[in-house]
Subunit: 390 residues, 2 copies
């Protein structure tokens, strides 16, 4: 029996058209886009075509506002450190939230060791930030606000357009880590009004290790990678052209297929949430019922250990995640789940189920059966469960 990927938040498969675009790029054998002879010009044209596709996906005014990166983490590091260091003469205070990805948290921690101060805001019990709290946290020293769009552990969407507007009024730059939302839900950077947006190709079935940073024209930012003049002088280094052409192809497909994908994924999510409620008791759903990604559910199943659930589901032929794949290796309970007000014990029982375009209702049905079985087995041997039942 084939293994079913229900861990799309960690990795989406490449769509057939993306594979074909990358294989064509490999077989074509592009030269260096910076070379001035005809081979270089041809490579540069391919690069700029991909940039145009990506710009259209997020409705950027000018393709030159797109910087290709090695993925979401580089985009976030570039945005936060690049803006902080370039604007330190205006102030050294940054506002963020308690539920950001480690790329944001650790970039900010690095800046703190260099004399910046950071205000990190709580979210309410539904996992959302209050835009007024952001406004209240801004001081005359504030140079940047960074609030993620979709949380990678709960799928909950933040009110970034409101936050962006508040920042604009106060002349503070606004960055959003939209790594798990661009290409997954509609994203119009001009409508939102963000100054910087981090995103990644794999979220929309492009290759892993390729991403983008939107930098609104006029934003003062230093490169994270210093060296040559690639990427309109914003990011040095010979381009990963094969990956970038894959990202361009994926962006074009995402633009075309977004409504159909969202409809399909939402149906699977609804089916799973309904089935979960019917088949397992004492479950806390951490994903916002309305403001959330169409394909991800975070559920804390009481009296079990998420790690054990994941491993037993693996044996049953299903891949799920227990926390951000990027945080694997850490044994602490997820900071995101604790921020929601979950207890340590409940946080440890959390699984992340994330669907992809290739998943089917039949797979979700089978998965619900496997999950109920696994949870029943684990609860049968759980001292926590026995204690609670006594």
């Amino acid at each position: 029996m084939s293994f079913v990927n229900l861990d799309h938040i960690s990795a989406n498969p490449l769509l057939p058209e993306v594979r074909r675009a990358m294989i064509a790029a490999i077989e074509h054998g592009y030269h260096n886009p910076s070379s001035q002879h005809r081979l270089g010009e041809e490579a540069a044209a391919a690069l700029e075509n991909a940039r145009g596709e990506v710009a259209q996906l997020i409705h950027a005014e000018d393709p030159r506002e797109i910087v290709f990166t090695s993925g979401g983490t580089e985009s976030v590091n570039h945005a936060i450190k690049g803006v902080a260091l370039a604007n330190a003469d205006r102030g050294r205070h940054i506002v963020t939230t308690n539920i950001e990805h480690n790329a944001v948290i650790r970039s900010l921690r690095r800046l703190k060791s260099q004399g910046f101060t950071v205000t990190s805001l709580s979210v309410d019990e539904t996992g959302r930030v209050d835009p007024q709290a952001v406004a209240a946290a801004i001081t005359p020293e504030t140079i940047l606000v960074s609030v993620m769009h979709a949380n990678n552990e709960t799928g909950t969407l933040q009110p970034i357009a409101e936050i962006a507007a508040l920042c604009r009024e106060r002349r503070v730059l606004f960055h959003t880590d939209a790594v798990d939302s661009v290409g997954v839900v509609p994203f119009d950077v001009r409508e939102i009004g963000a100054d910087l947006v981090s995103f990644a190709a794999n979220a929309f079935y492009g290759p892993p290790g390729v991403g983008g940073l939107y930098v609104r024209r006029g934003v003062k930012i230093f490169p994270l990678l210093d060296g040559g003049v690639q990427e309109h002088n914003k990011r040095a280094g010979t381009e990963n052209l094969i990956g970038i052409l894959g990202m361009g192809a994926a962006a074009a497909l995402a633009r075309r297929d977004l409504p159909a994908r969202m409809a399909h994924l939402s149906r699977l999510k609804e089916q799973f949430l309904r089935g979960l409620a019917e088949s397992i008791d004492e479950v806390i759903v951490n994903t916002h019922p309305v403001h959330s990604l169409p394909h991800l559910v975070s559920a804390s199943i009481r009296y079990v250990e998420g790690e054990s659930v994941m491993l037993m589901l693996d044996d049953e032929g299903f891949g799920v995640s227990t926390r951000s794949a990027c945080a694997t290796g850490s044994l602490r309970a997820s900071h995101v789940l604790l921020s929601l007000g979950l207890s340590h014990a409940d946080a440890q029982g959390t699984i992340l189920v994330s669907f992809g375009v290739e998943n089917t209702a039949e797979e979700v049905h089978r998965f619900l059966g496997a999950l109920a079985k696994v949870v029943a087995t684990l609860r049968g041997i759980s001292p926590l469960c026995r204690k609670s039942a006594s």
Copy 2:
């Protein structure tokens, strides 16, 4: 007639085996190596296999000393900024040379704006650094010496083993930018004794936009990309696994084929140098006659403009470079050539010819004819040439 790439310093073609490895990776559809279910484990195994191949190429003791990056530029930025910031409590002085790549120069410039001081050493008229000059430049405040291995504009190799030994005696970390030499000439990191080595896959016919940083065990360094715990906690971000698997395949081939490649390339280089001396007068060869890469020749052709030579050769079906491809966009004369003592005028007449494994003696023969014709034409209309002849 097909176009002949004589600009391999800007881009090497992917070898058939590398293409096949990357296409296989694309078609296989790997999951995220950080995921803990079986799909993640399979991806992690493929990643670690590639790391082993790369470690063997440079004779690293432990594969965990290899950090995969998005290319030579990221490796250099990571090495220099990561070591400087992690060791700033011990001192804030760095020693380098006047002929480094812009990735080194501009990383150091960034550090200078953060309070570090840099001593940049001259090279002799053959383009080599004197190890004793490095030793003399080291102060009690010095935390890092960064000297490139092969210069990307002349191909001249630096005495890095001697420099590494001097640094080790003085307990100063030594980084070498070996982006244009690893996989091109033998490179044994333990024999050389470097603490940090930057390199890139495309130098040995792997994909562009993929590189490595060797960090000797025990070296104190901060990540450049903060976030998740990938790459043994040295470089956050989901891996470009397709590119990394291409790099692994390219590393294995380079290890096997290095002697044959070097013999072939040296023959082409000799043929070109001989033919150049016979067919064009008033040429300065900037490449060291002995200590240099086997495939690159920098020649300053007096009374012509390198840009014009390059463009006319393009029409004749040959791609060459006039300066580092990474520096395209800058109109200033190359800092490397000026460091050799060339005049501005002579530096402007410089072309870089770099051969690849697929080039043939017949192509070099045709190229020599085309170059002589182009130079004769340009000199015929050159005011500089007329003045000199008058």
